[in-house]
Symmetry: C2
Subunit: 499 residues, 2 copies
């Protein structure tokens, strides 16, 4: 077989195997009976090994051979370059270190579950110490300039440097504190938005389909932690979590995951395994979920649509109890929360910032693991004004560290900043898209994203994609302007609660 | 790595890959959105190739090396012999023939779907002709004594010869015709057993769990064609089909699939991929589904339990409208039907018999494909006394031929015969198990099957397993006695309908 044909075949095999793993993971979360877990872990482990072996033994040598091979077109060679940039780090890490990390993560995850249950950081501490040791070695193997964090962050986001990231956060921090100070404590109006689970599922499904989620290529299920899983553009599933006392939680989760899902549904089908048919980055992926969750789902026009067209089917009494404005206020309540994933659009980034600072200090060796809970609690008090009552609601709340995913958190914030910048670019092109949204028509944003984001797959990194889609490099100013304007519009004239 | 270790590893990999394929197929039937089908077909095709390559290039050479290797215990060597017997036919068939068959099956299945829709056999005929040509070549490659059918049947059932099969059917045929003549046309009493879908699903789930299906290692879903899929003893799922006008259809399907599921849940977990952790054969698997569907679910004691404990929760008015006897009569109505899968316990085997006869004639070349519909219709008239109105309800009703599964059908009948023989062996050991069943207690049959069937995995073929479990070789007399006694008991004193 010619090199070109072997390369297409090897990329196809990699993509199919990865989607196979995704399907099994989706099934594990959504369908698998509880006692199936041991067999599933064995199966997933075997497939992960098979995939790793395929990449190192077959795919990487082929890509290296193809790099400047005349058999490939310049466009193909560009794609080969992108793939090499993503995959070459994999072979830089010594196999023994990979193995040690995999084993330690298994133990650390189990220890984290137990520690969190008991709300006792000391049970997790030795594992985190071990993981930091291994992650420092990983960062050394990957290489960095200033500090180990750089190397780890780059695994998740290669288009933005850590210096840029620092600048974004330092521009943002005073603004976040100002917003928190101004808006926290506003009392909300209206009765509870309680709805039975079955009705909530139907409501979410109706709204998502209306906005553009193709259910003939997707499905919606329930799971403890909402997520989206794309196996191919023709099979992209999402899950929601339902709290019967308030349907806006399930709806927000649904819109968030739909953002991921629309991206996956909008990617090219062929050539399978090549950058054009892959998502650009975690940050860009998160920009999609944030766009639909916040710029659509937390906007006043969206709640005009909901009030007029959707809610009457479910609870006619809300029509007199609410206006679109009071509904929109409910989903835009600013209130610091101990838990990151329950936080509002403003204080969320303070959660990310404190993790960013703590991870860097840990990796630099400036903060020791036993001192971490205290450092955590101090930052929560400083940034959020909250007292952390226990480790469970503090330093033990996220699974990420137990999975050795240090360097990951900032991609969530970058997603928000990108989403805000995309929304402004959309409005530049069509100033009326939000008016159409009030009628339930989200076709313009979807078309814009299809053309400016989905269509380019992973051909450009986050920064280049942002530049091409919006005409400017990533700037946090769009996020700042978006939040400031929205909160001013929503809360103007509302009396500050005395409580 | 030592040979022994490599062999365990290769068998484990084969079993895991096979269960991976099973999970993807289950998902395809139960969860996958409609447009996901093309990607899924590609993924499944890739995995099937990977599995085939693993068996031919890695596993078979290892097994051949291990055959009389001193590193293995005698018990391991016995298992190696069993595995070789199953897998060696795979390499006897030339790869080009495998490829041709795979390609032709894809076309033939699509043609069968269309032909069936149009009820026009001529659209399927050229594909069947081609398949017969390829299957004859396959039979030649595998080798046989008297006729090509032998070689194909042996792929599904290696413990029973075609001569034994002929004898079983020739013993059975006059009995089936006698039963049909005696019992057909009895009118049933009582109002329809209609129940909403959600209640039916709950009823089936309640009954199955009560009888021994472990839902922490299983789950029940809906699908167009009920099936059972076991990925490991700790994850064995089944599906049912619900007809709202009569819950007994869903219940029968549930009990049938539960028989398969209990077998899979009862197999050994380790060593994975070795015969001890595999099902014995298709016939033995079918004996399990038939046992729970018929010997449990179509028995009078079971309906005593249903009437007393289950039905009052769903439809209290049935308590006065029915007795256990009239309920049991409903699920034991003898009435020839054009469609095999809608047939009763008696006429079902006439359906198998006519397929057995027609397949052999086709493979021998004594019956030509264009003459097949006429031959089919003649046999249906002779055996079932029915006129076939069209090909859809006649020769085109089953998918098996389009999948090249000639030689498969008799395993269904063998399952019934084995089930009846097992039931008698149970009663020999504990004459009171049916009395306990009237109280909803099925623990004795489950224990008996665990000890005599499940525990032995695939260490023995169907015939040996039957001999060890019942003390005798397989005999159709137990099935005959079971049907005769049951129908006499159920219908004695019931007037024959005049209609």
């Amino acid at each position: 077989m010619a090199l070109r044909e072997r390369l297409y075949e090897a990329l196809r095999f990699r993509a199919l195997l990865a989607s196979n793993i995704e399907i099994l993971s989706w099934d594990q979360e959504v369908c698998m009976p509880p006692r199936g877990v041991a067999h599933r872990a064995t199966l997933l482990g075997t497939l992960a090994n098979l995939l790793h072996k395929h990449i190192t033994d077959t795919l990487l040598p082929l890509l290296q051979e193809a790099k400047e091979h005349p058999e490939l077109t310049p466009a193909e060679q560009q794609s080969v370059g992108i793939l090499l940039e993503d995959l070459e780090p994999i072979v830089k890490i010594p196999p023994t270190l990979v193995q040690e990390l995999t084993e330690e993560v298994t133990l650390a995850k189990a220890a984290w579950v137990e520690a969190r249950k008991a709300s006792d950081f000391s049970r997790f501490a030795p594992h985190l110490t071990k993981l930091l040791h291994l992650l420092r070695a990983k960062a050394e193997a990957l290489g960095y300039e200033r500090e180990p964090y750089e190397a780890l962050f780059r695994l998740y986001e290669k288009g933005i440097t850590i210096t840029e990231l620092e600048q974004l956060f330092s521009d943002l921090k005073p603004f976040l504190l100002e917003m928190l100070h101004t808006y926290q404590g506003y009392e909300l109006e209206g009765p509870p938005l309680a709805l039975p689970a079955a009705a909530q599922k139907e409501l979410v499904s109706t709204v998502l389909e209306h906005l553009g989620y193709d259910l003939s290529r997707g499905r919606i299920d329930l799971s403890a932690h909402p997520f989206c899983a794309g196996f191919s553009p023709d099979d992209v599933r999402l899950t929601i979590r339902i709290e019967e006392e308030d349907f806006t939680m399930a709806l927000s989760a649904g819109l968030h995951e739909m953002g991921h899902a629309l991206y996956e549904q909008g990617l090219a089908r062929e050539p399978i395994g090549w950058p054009i048919s892959m998502a650009a980055s975690l940050s860009v992926h998160e920009s999609q979920s944030r766009f639909w969750e916040n710029h659509i789902g937390a906007s006043l026009p969206f709640w005009q649509f909901m009030q007029a067209r959707i809610l009457p089917r479910y609870q006619p009494s809300w029509l007199s109890a609410y206006t679109p404005l009071t509904l929109a206020r409910r989903v835009n309540k600013i209130q610091p929360h101990l838990i990151r994933i329950q936080s509002d659009e403003v204080t969320y980034h303070l959660h990310i910032l404190l993790r960013f600072e703590l991870e860097r200090a840990l990796l630099r060796g400036e903060l020791s693991v036993p001192d971490l809970p205290l450092a955590w609690n101090e930052k929560v008090a400083t940034y959020l004004g909250l007292t952390v009552p226990n480790d469970r609601e503090g330093v033990l709340q996220d699974i990420h560290w137990s999975m050795a995913n240090l360097g990951y958190f900032p991609t969530y914030s970058l997603g928000s900043f990108l989403a805000a910048q995309f929304a402004v670019a959309m409005s530049r092109e069509n100033p009326y898209w939000e008016e159409a949204l009030a009628e339930g028509d989200a076709s313009f944003p979807l078309q814009w994203l299809q053309k400016n984001i989905y269509a380019h797959g992973a051909l450009w990194d986050s920064q280049t994609l942002c530049q091409k889609a919006t005409g400017e490099p990533l700037s946090v100013q769009y996020y700042i302007q978006y939040i400031r304007t929205k909160l001013e519009n929503l809360y103007e004239g509302l009396p500050l609660a005395t409580a």
